[in-house]
Symmetry: C2
Subunit: 151 residues, 2 copies
DNA sequence: ACACTACCTCAAGCTAACTTTAGGTCAACA
DNA sequence: TGTTGACCTAAAGTTAGCTTGAGGTAGTGT
């Protein structure tokens, strides 16, 4: 019977890889980083619980949002260790990322406005644009960096 | 007189570094990547035209928007080579990046909706969520990857 | 029993965007 | 004239997020 792993709900690494769309090496890598977990069978091969699939999907989704593996790991660590995570558990995660996404979107929108008013008009420093005013005559007095600042 | 470089409008690398807020090594690096240009004096030291400062500011601004150096190089290459870029030249650049920013923002907003409707509700694949439906009983028939797709 | 595929580990390689280090030259000022 | 400090090059190191390769074991099908 070829679905033994499926019925037992002990998934082999190759199966998880195929199912989740990531490479086996990526699963090894995620495990080494503490993002997913597995146990070993007698022959030292990895076995996974089915919910690893959701975990991987969530990791990938979060990455698409531009969240780093380190941050994802942090957020995932809020999931329960003992029991299989429930709908509510995952929902809590999504709230965290939704908020982060909202912030990012707002940041991008602020940026967009600045680009509009700033590179566009020839001014890059918002307030009093040293670069634009002093392109040819550079005084010694103003020495700070004049870039768009993050926040 | 210590402002010789300033009055001559031939900027030394250290001055440009201090003024733009990036390290000398970064300027070397940008030059090696073709993002900025310089010529050499008799002693083989780099000299820059003042408009390199704006160029660097623009590079940094574009990076903040998440644009890669390679793409920035592409866009910068639309600036005139012969004459010093005008306000209008820079304005044209900003339009390109504004458009890219708009796309990014839209993408993030689409993502946000998906996170909302998908991780939140327990479904990750939008349409018919194989992961959610098959967490315990995994059929052999559905084998595709089930992640949030980009576009 | 034998082959073939899946799996294992550890180390090295890859891209982006820089920084750091090493060993040496040039320029400015007292 | 001497000694700092600024500059030069080339190569190696850094972080993130993986992939590839080498050399070896395990599991499955005939």
């Amino acid at each position: 019977m070829s679905d033994k792993k499926l019925i037992d709900a002990n998934l082999a690494v190759g199966f998880v890889a195929k199912r989740s769309g990531v490479k086996v090496s990526t699963l090894h890598f995620y495990e080494s980083k503490g993002l997913i977990r597995s146990w070993r069978n007698n022959g030292n091969q990895r076995r996974y619980k089915p919910d690893v699939l959701r975990r991987i999907a969530v990791i990938k989704a979060a990455q698409t949002m531009g969240i780093t593996l380190e941050d994802i790991k942090q957020t995932l660590s809020t999931l329960p260790e003992q029991r299989t995570p429930t709908k509510q558990d995952w929902a809590a995660l999504s709230k965290v990322w939704q908020t982060q996404l909202d912030e990012r979107i707002q940041y991008m929108q602020r940026l967009r406005e600045r680009v509009n008013g700033c590179i566009g008009c020839g001014c890059l420093s918002m307030a009093k644009c040293p670069i634009y005013n002093k392109d040819d005559y550079l005084g010694e007095d103003q020495s700070g960096a004049v870039l768009l600042e993050r926040d």
